[in-house]
C-alpha cells in the first residue's frame, strides 16, 4: 500500500503535474455535463438562434466593434505624441460620444448635447488626473 501511494516529483517537469490533473478533471466534468444536459445541448442550435434573433444587434455588435476600434487606435495615435497620453484622450472623446449615441433611444439635439459635454469633459478630466496628479502614463 505504501508503494502504491508513494509519489516522486521531478522538479524539471513539476510545472506540468497540476495543469494535467486540472485538465483531466475539467474533461471529466465537461463529459458529465454533456451526458446530463445532452437534450439541452442537442437543442442548442435553436437556443442560439433565439438568442441571436432577440439580440439588439446594432447596439451589441456596434458596442463590440467600437470597443475593438478604440483599443486598436489608442496606441498608434498615442505614438504620434509619445508619453503624453494623447492617444487615450483623442480616442476616448469620440468613443464615449459614439457609444453614447449608439446606446441612445432618442437622438435629438437635447439628448446629444449633455452626452457631448460628458464626452469632452469626462476623458479630459481623467487624462488630466492620471497624467498630472497621479503621474501615470496613458497610451
Amino acid at each position: 500500500m505504501g508503494d502504491l501511494t508513494r509519489v516522486t516529483i521531478d522538479f524539471q517537469t513539476s510545472h506540468l503535474i497540476f495543469p494535467t490533473i486540472i485538465a483531466i478533471v475539467l474533461g471529466l466534468l465537461g463529459l458529465a455535463i454533456v451526458i446530463r444536459d445532452r437534450a439541452r445541448i442537442a437543442a442548442a442550435g435553436s437556443y442560439w438562434r433565439a438568442s441571436w434573433s432577440a439580440m439588439d444587434k446594432p447596439r451589441f455588435l456596434g458596442a463590440l466593434a467600437l470597443t475593438l476600434l478604440y483599443f486598436s487606435l489608442m496606441v498608434p495615435v498615442g505614438d504620434i505624441w509619445p508619453n503624453t497620453g494623447l492617444g487615450f484622450l483623442l480616442c476616448s472623446i469620440p468613443y464615449v460620444l459614439a457609444t453614447g449615441i449608439l446606446f441612445m433611444h432618442e437622438r435629438g439635439f437635447r439628448q446629444i448635447l449633455p452626452l457631448l459635454i460628458v464626452a469632452l469633459v469626462g476623458p479630459t478630466f481623467v487624462w488630466w488626473l492620471f497624467t498630472y496628479p497621479l503621474f501615470l502614463t496613458l497610451p
Binding site: 524539471q12 510545472h15 475539467l26 466534468l29 465537461g30 439580440m55 453614447g100 449608439l102 496613458l138
Partner: protein, 498 residues
Amino acid sequence: MFEILTPLFVSLIVGGTLVGIIFGAIPGMTATMAVAVCLPLTYSLGLENGLALLLGLYVGGISGGLVPAILLGIPGTPSSITTTFDGYPMAQRGEGEKALRIGIVASLVGGLISLLVLDLFAPTLADFAIKFSYVEKFLIIFFALTVMAALSSDMLLGIFSGVLGIFISLIGTYDISRGGNGELRLVPPGTEYWLESGFSLLPVLIGLFGLAAILEQAEIGVPKGHSTKDINVGKHSRFSFGIFKGQSINLVRSSLIGTFIGILPGVGGSAASIISYTNAKTFSKRPGNFGKGEPAGIMASEAGNNGLTGGALVPLLSLGIPGDSTTALLIGAFTLQGIQVGPLFIGNNPGTWDAMIIAMLIANIAMFAMMYFAIRYFALVVTIPKHILFPVILMMCVIGAYTINYGIMFDVWTLLIFGVLGWLFTKLRLEVAPFIIGFILGPSAEIYFIKSLESFGDATIFFTKSWIAVVLWILIAGSVAGAALMAKKKKEITDEAV
C-alpha cells in the same frame, strides 16, 4: 489606532460610500463594478487610503441596491432581490420613503453586526491558520472551492466554472518566486511574449464584472432609464423607529445569516438576502403578509445583504480566500501595494487591519447618514441615462486595465477577452463567482499541492497529516453531501410543481 483618521482618509470613505450608493442604485450596476472601475485610483493613495475608498464603495454599493428595488421593483444589485418583494408593494401604496428608511436602518444594523463578527473572528481564525502546513492550506482552498461550487445554482456547472478558473490561472510561467521551476505551460506558440506571466488578475476581473455587464445590457438594447414620474417616494409616509419594535431577533438573525453566508467563499449577496428573508417569513407571526408590503421582509433582506460585507472579509483577511466577488477585487488592491493577504496579514499589518475596521465602521455610518437624510435625492439616481453612464464606465475600465501593470496594452485586450467571456458565461449558464475564486486561488492551490507531495512523497498525506486535515475532509464531504441533498430536494419540489 486613531492616527489613521486623517481628513483624506475620512473623505475617501465618505466619497467612496457616496459613489458606491450611486452605483448600487443604478439597476445593472453593482458594488463589484464600482470597486473594479475605481481600483486604479488607489495607486497613489497608499494601502490604507486606497482601502478606505474601496471599502466605502463596497458598503455603499451593497446598500444602494435598495433604492430601485423599493421604488421601481427592480433590484439595483443581485443582493437586493428580496427587498423588492415587500419594498415595491409599500412604494405602490405611497409608503416609498418609509420603506427606504426601514431598509436603510436594517442595512446599518447588518453592517455593524457583521463588522463586529469580523473584528472578533478574523484574528482568531488567522492565528489558528498560521499553524497550517502546505497540506492544510491546499485542503482549505479545496474546501473553499467545494463550498462555493456546492452552493451554486447548478452544482456541476459551478464546479466546472471553478475548475475552469483554476485552469486559466495556470497559463504562463510556473512561478520561481513561489517555488516553481520557471517553465512555461499552457501557452500557445507565438503568444509567449504576452502570456509569460499569464493573465493579470485585475483586467480579468474588470472584464468579467465591468465590460460583461455592459455587453449584457447592450444585448437587450440598453433599456431606457426611468423618468422622475416613475418614482413614487411617497411624501406622506411617516417613518418612526417604533416600527422596529419586536424586530430585534429578525434583525440580528438576518445579519448573522448574511455574515455567515459572507464567510462562505463565492456564495454572494443574493443568497444572503434570500435565506434571511425565507427565515424571517418562516418565524413570522404573519407569514401571509410577506410579499404584500411587510416591513419585516425589508428588514430581513437588507440586514442580510449588508451582513455580507463584514463576513466576506473574514476568509480574505484570515486565510487569503475572498468571500465574494467584491472582496476578490480587494486582493487586487493589496497586490498593487505589494502585500499578500493570508494568515500572517493581520499580525504583520496591525495598522492596516485597524484602518480597515475603522473604514468599515465609518462607511456604515456614512451610508446611513447620507441615505437616511438625503434619500429623496438618491432616488433620482435611477434616472441617470445609461447612454451617458455606460460609455464613461467603459472608458474607466480601459484606464483600470491599462494602468494596473503601469501601461501594458495586452491587459486592455485581456479586459476585452474576459468581457466577452463573461457575457458568454451568462449564455452558457456558467457561474462567474466560482470562476473568479478558482482563478485567484489556482496558483496557490498548485504550489501547496506540489510542495505537499515534494515534502512528504506520499499521496495519503492529505488524509493523514493532522487532525485539521481530517476535519477539513469531513467538511468537504459534508458540503458536497449537503449540496446533493439540497439539489435533490429542489428537484422534488420542481417535479411536484409540474
